[in-house]
């Protein structure tokens, strides 16, 4: 069964419709690449999923359950949606918390969340120790165990983005979203971040990846969605959409991106 179904999702800012009736579904363990030019609405779509924006129309279903329905005005509660742990988001510009070490960045939200449980009061020390241990293991999985005590400004862009991935993973979301995770990086640093995402895909992490790295998208993603001007133009297996696009607009877009550099 699909872990995520997005139906006819739209987002309008005043008179500007940024996302126009986009739909797709995602099975557990699969990943979806969203491609399209800058300003085509990809980021807004991710923000709608992650509870940073309220869609103007459409529905979001998680495991068949309604998470959001624009036709049911009482259903929307951004706070509840964000607290629900269905989605994790890795931003284009990392956005780590500068006053916390790499490890603290990973564990902060988890620890704050754990405070709600009665166990926390009873076994405060053990709970914190175990959160820290898990955090270290996650940092290790992105290759940064040695940098656990480093502050963000002491890390390279690629390392910062890997910490940001670890931070999102620490909440164990159902679906991990990436918003152009390598676009803010120097070219020589993109590889280490893409490799981490490749590793996640090989371990069947469910992901939605907005990216401009076409080769990477084809290798890693199961499906691909091409968005132009807010609308879904082509949706299918990643290999088909990226290697053998049917739509003229997809072809034009890919030609601009696949030029050898």
């Amino acid at each position: 069964m699909s872990v995520l179904v997005v139906e006819n999702l739209s987002k309008r800012f005043d008179s500007l419709e940024v996302v126009r009736g986009v739909g797709f579904s995602l099975n557990r363990g699969e990943s979806l690449a969203i491609i399209g030019s800058s300003g085509s609405g990809k980021t807004t779509l991710l923000r709608c999923l992650n509870g940073l924006e309220t869609p103007s129309a459409g529905r979001i279903l998680i495991n068949g359950q309604k998470l959001f329905d624009a036709d049911d005005p009482h259903s929307e509660n951004l706070k509840r949606r964000r607290a629900s742990r269905h989605f994790g988001l890795v931003f284009q510009s990392f956005i780590l918390f500068p006053q916390y070490t790499a490890l603290e960045n990973v564990t902060l939200a988890v620890e704050l969340n754990a405070r709600k449980s009665p166990e926390y009061r009873a076994n405060r020390r053990e709970t914190i120790a175990s959160i820290k241990k898990t955090g270290l293991a996650i940092l290790d999985s992105v290759g940064l165990a040695a940098k656990a005590g480093a502050y963000p400004h002491q890390l390279s862009g690629g390392q910062q983005q890997r910490v940001a991935i670890a931070r999102a993973l620490a909440r164990d979301p159902d679906i991990l979203c990436f918003d152009e995770p390598t676009s803010a990086l120097d070219p020589e640093l993109t590889g280490e971040v893409l490799n981490v995402i490749r590793g996640l895909a090989s371990r069947n992490t469910t992901m939605v990846i907005v990216t401009h790295e076409m080769d990477f998208a084809r290798q890693v993603a199961d499906n691909a969605l091409f968005i132009d001007n807010g609308a879904a133009i082509e949706y299918g297996s990643a290999d088909e959409v990226i290697s053998h696009p049917r739509e003229e607009r997809t072809r034009q877009f890919l030609e601009r991106y696949s030029q050898p550099t």
Binding site: L52, R82, A83, L96
Partner: protein, 213 residues
């Protein structure tokens, strides 16, 4: 000499009392005004910003005179009970307005991304503010606050305009008797005190030097 120094010291005690009390009251009051000038409730925002504009746009000396004499002239029920009280009220209002703008600048300088990163991790608004944003704001406003606080030390001597016998007024009485050196000596008191504050602020900045914000 044994008359002058105790007299200067008595005066400086008033400066320091003004300084400490003003800080204790205007630092929190500045938060209230900041909140007013950032709120989405437009009438409150307009009133707050008009207030800040008037306070920052007129001389502190004039504000001291107004607080001291105008309520009496207009026979208002609320009047300063003493010269010291009037001076304190004027300083608190004036510095709270300046502080509110420093705070506002600090808060507005934090990128929306910091809030959003906290929110998508499921943190509540207060958690994001207190655990993520606040320390970054404190770090960013410390240099400006340091400036303002050191200015306050020297501004306390303006209280003499409404007859508070702070250190310069104390020294001036000796000048009228033909004794010039006490007046110049007051400078040493201010230097010593602002030197101490400089060290304290330097220490605070060093303590926050472990991260970049």
């Amino acid at each position: 000499m044994n008359v002058v120094l105790p007299s200067l010291l008595d005066g400086f005690v008033l400066n320091i009392r003004l300084f400490v009390t003003t800080l204790l009251l205007s630092v929190p009051l500045g938060l209230v005004i900041m909140y007013g000038s950032m709120t989405k409730i437009l009438p409150i925002r307009w009133v707050s910003r008009l207030f800040v504009w008037i306070i920052r746009g007129t001389p502190l000396m004039l504000q001291l005179i107004i607080v001291m004499y105008v309520p009496g002239l207009l026979r208002w029920p609320i009047q300063a009970k003493s010269r010291m009280g009037a001076a304190l009220a004027a300083f608190v209002i004036n510095y709270a307005a300046y502080f509110s703008e420093i705070y506002r600048g600090g808060i507005e300088s934090i990128s929306v991304g910091q809030y959003e990163a906290g929110q998508v991790l499921g943190m509540t608004r207060p958690q994001v503010f207190f655990r993520v944003v606040l320390l970054q704001v404190v770090k960013r406003v410390t240099p400006a606050m340091s400036n303002e606080v050191i200015t306050l030390v020297k501004d306390t001597s303006l209280a003499r305009i409404i007859g508070v016998t702070e250190i310069i007024m104390s020294a001036d009485r000796f000048t009228k008797q033909g004794l010039i050196w006490p007046l110049f000596t007051t400078g040493l008191f201010f230097l010593a005190f602002s030197g101490l504050l400089t060290i304290l602020f330097r220490y605070a900045e060093d303590r926050m030097d472990f991260f970049r914000a």
